[in-house]
Amino acid sequence: MAEHGHSDKFVYHEPGLQHQFSDMMQQEQSVSIGMWAFLAQEIMFFGGLFTAYLVFRSKYPMAFAAGSNRLDAFLGGTNTLVLIVSSLTMALTVYFAQKGNRHLQIIFILLTMLFGAAFLGIKAVEYHNKYVEGIVPVAGWNARAKAPAGAEREEAKPCWQAENLEGDNYVNPKGEFIWADCSLAKLAQDENFLTTAEKAGYFSNGQLDGDKFRDKVRIFFFLYFVMTGLHALHMIVGLVLMTWLLWTAFRGYYNADYYMPVEMSGLYWHFVDIVWIFLFPLLYLLGRHFVHAH
């Protein structure tokens, strides 16, 4: 028996063909099904987070609206635009790989990487702003600022008249998560649209409690950081993939007959874009009218 064992070493193999497949068609189908199954897995992974978001948003809509309004919708919107354009350049990368045009393929990979890096850069600016404003939901992870010596201690105002401390007024000696303003809860109370969970969750002894409101806003920022953080991690993985694609494309691995890795990386890149397309309205846009209409 054994003497027949390695007879297939003289059989012609197409260059990209792995040993376990009998032809390129089988390999392409396998890789494609594998990638789609992986993306289904990713949907379930983010799905758990989206579930947590939806549960807490429906429980504490005003706290989430308050948190949402502190996000920078301009930077978020810019990032959305950047990612959509990067999807276009990614699609063009795949297109030129299929056409066998190595030069344009490399150019569009570089452009895709540029937009991906721009996204991460803008994201880093946003994260830094949160750090400076004292709304990172981990104690000690915010910028520290002592109250100026001899400053008058302000009279304690009820939380719905308080303003969030920003700029020169920012005082945060221990780097805590700080949040003073609960005016949106007051608005909902006055106009009588508090949810059941809010009626229990914002009040102590029938009075609006700024600390309890702050805890709910902190949940928003926790979800914001986990969701955008995991998304950014996926972007970083995408950039690593792009670097590998760039190298292999540079070496001329791809042609009109063999471009599967490019197409699969493209699927991944588009998926990560789509996650952001959901994250942006959920985190940045929902609830803005509560502030801007009143």
Binding site: S30, A37, A40, Q41, G48, T51, A52, D215, F222, L223
Partner: protein
């Protein structure tokens, strides 16, 4: 060369082939960097056995502690850690990978006539992920362990427990990706790697079971991954996603946890059902009854399995209307399981039943899974569950399904395919003895726990009222028998590696594709790529093998 000649050439050849997947290369690197699914399966076999041994040691400790009503062997805090680690080791590091990663990995490509899994490198990556996760979990265990129970219920796990929840949580998070990648690989392989003629309805039911379980692995596991990640981050950041004291929602944790962990119990039984379908049909020498029904009942269990998680929350403050829906759906999921049981029984009817060791395990599975499944209906019933929640009744129920189901099926499958994996036969006598000991020991261990639970003994306590002692002594005695029964295969399997009789290609005289290559198979599985012309479980002429004639010759040889 047509298929029949090809198989005839390789079917009855005795002895061990000069070059096979075990001795093709022998360096350590050739094992650690292999892309061969069979070698990866062997490495999984060794690894899961180690974790089974660790988990088993914890189980023995629990049973010893419960021998007496007072908490005398362990203090209560240590006891909490011991049962937690028993659960974590057994569920995440033994039961979930056991049949898929060992038997599935080894057999799926051979059964469908492929050279390897579709994504061999991913397969190796998943083994390494499993090792990393296992090492991290063991590290967490050495530095102090966890005491939350394997369920990690919040807010205890997020706020109050002073143990190593983050490390072990992250270990399980990492381990999840091993499971996801294995499932993904199986889905792709079953879709694209089938040999010519191997249509979907010619697949062995073992493969159908693995297709169903892969769907659950790919779609369920990411949810527990993100949940445990949230628990770990919440412990670190002190934000109230799950802790109600600062606005979180502990019921949300239970929903997310059981959204995976209920389907996960099907991960822990569907592959076992696949193995048993093979055993029952092959050792009855009869075409399986209702092939399509068994195949689709696996898929149905996988689908319905995603819709019943709420039955773990009947007393947790879930809406009673949701409870009613979940209770109903729980009854529905019993239907496909029952379809399997009836079809196996009908398969054996008028079959030529051979009581070899694997079949003893297969029959043991049917008996134990029947009890496990029926008591599941008790727990799925909305009213009765209030009485039984968190008692030993629950413990007995899920051990009947997981140990009586999956572990017994795993042992049966291991005995059945051992000659294929190693080329050697184990001692049939000791095999039968161990199968009997496992069955008797298992029932003696866990049946008393149904009674204890029904009488109200709660789970997860080191001490109990003295009136429960008699049944606990039965249980501990049974556990000793069970332990011996499960350790015996380790000895005679190892013995067989050196001194076992050479098995030959087809020791059981069966028609499946895996019996048409040499034992152990060559690295590329088949010397000539097979073409399938026969229906599944075809014992007659149609199989292209002269099984009857060979059986007669064997009987004559035995008579001489």
């Amino acid at each position: 060369m047509n298929a029949q000649e090809a198989t005839a050439a390789t079917s009855y050849g005795g002895g061990i082939p000069r070059i096979n997947y075990l001795n093709a290369k022998t360096t350590l690197a050739s094992w650690l960097l292999t892309k061969d699914h069979k070698r990866i399966a062997i490495m999984y076999l060794i690894s899961v056995s180690v974790f089974f041994l660790i988990g088993g040691t914890f189980a023995a400790t629990i049973r010893l502690e419960l021998l007496t009503p007072a908490s005398d062997l362990l203090e209560t805090g240590t006891y909490n850690k011991v049962f937690t680690e028993h659960g974590i080791m057994m569920i995440f590091f033994f039961l979930i990978p056991s049949i898929p990663a060992v038997l599935g990995n080894f057999l799926i490509p051979i059964m469908i006539g492929a050279k390897d899994l579709a994504l061999p490198r991913i397969n190796l990556v998943s083994l390494y992920i499993y090792w990393i996760a296992g090492a991290l979990a063991l590290y967490g265990l050495m530095v102090g362990g966890v005491d939350t129970g394997w369920t990690f219920y919040t807010p205890y796990s997020t706020t109050f427990s002073n143990t190593y929840v983050e490390i072990v949580g992250i270990a399980i998070f990492i381990n999840g990706f091993s499971s996801i990648l294995t499932g993904l690989n199986f889905i792709v392989t079953i879709h694209t790697m089938r040999a010519p003629g191997m249509t979907w309805f010619r697949l062995p039911l073992f493969v159908w079971g693995h297709y169903a379980v892969s769907l659950v692995m790919v779609l369920g596991t990411p949810v527990i991954a993100i949940t445990l990640l949230l628990v770990a981050i919440e412990r670190f950041a002190r934000v109230g996603i799950f802790d109600p004291a600062i606005g979180g929602d502990p019921i949300l944790f239970q929903h997310l946890f059981w959204f995976y962990s209920h389907p996960a119990v099907y991960i822990m039984v569907l592959p076992g059902m696949g193995v048993v379908s093979e055993l029952i049909s092959n050792f009855s020498r009869k075409k399986i009854f209702g092939y399509e029904f068994i195949a689709f009942s696996s898929i149905a269990i996988a689908v319905f399995g995603f819709l019943v998680w709420g039955h773990h929350l009947f007393v947790s403050g879930q809406s009673p209307y949701a409870g009613m829906v979940f209770s109903f759906l729980t009854m529905v999921v019993a239907v496909p399981s029952a379809i399997k049981m009836f079809n196996w029984t009908a398969t054996m009817y008028k079959g030529s039943i051979h009581f070899d060791t694997p079949m003893l395990y297969g029959l043991g599975f049917m008996g134990l899974f029947l009890i496990g499944g029926l008591t599941g209906l008790f727990l799925g019933a909305l009213g009765l569950d209030v009485h039984l929640t968190d008692t030993y009744f629950v413990v007995a129920h899920f051990h009947y399904v997981m140990v009586g189901g999956q572990v017994v099926a795993y042992l049966g499958g291991l005995h059945y395919w051992w000659p294929k994996m190693t080329g050697r036969m184990y001692s049939e006598f000791w095999g039968k003895v161990s199968a009997m000991l496992v069955f008797v020991g298992f029932n003696l261990t866990f049946f008393p726990q149904f009674l204890l639970g029904y009488q109200g003994m709660p789970r997860r306590y080191a001490a109990y009222p003295p009136e429960f002692q008699v049944l606990n002594i039965f249980s501990t005695a049974g556990a000793s028998v069970l332990g011996i029964g499960m350790l015996m295969p380790v000895i005679y399997f190892l013995h067989s590696l050196w001194w076992g009789k050479e098995a030959g290609d087809n020791p059981w005289l069966l028609p499946g594709l895996e019996w048409r290559t040499s034992s152990p198979p060559p690295t590329e599985n088949f010397l000539t790529p097979p073409i399938v012309t026969w229906e599944p479980y075809e014992f007659g002429e149609g199989s292209g093998l002269e099984l009857e004639a060979e059986r007669r010759r064997e009987a004559e040889r035995a008579a001489v």
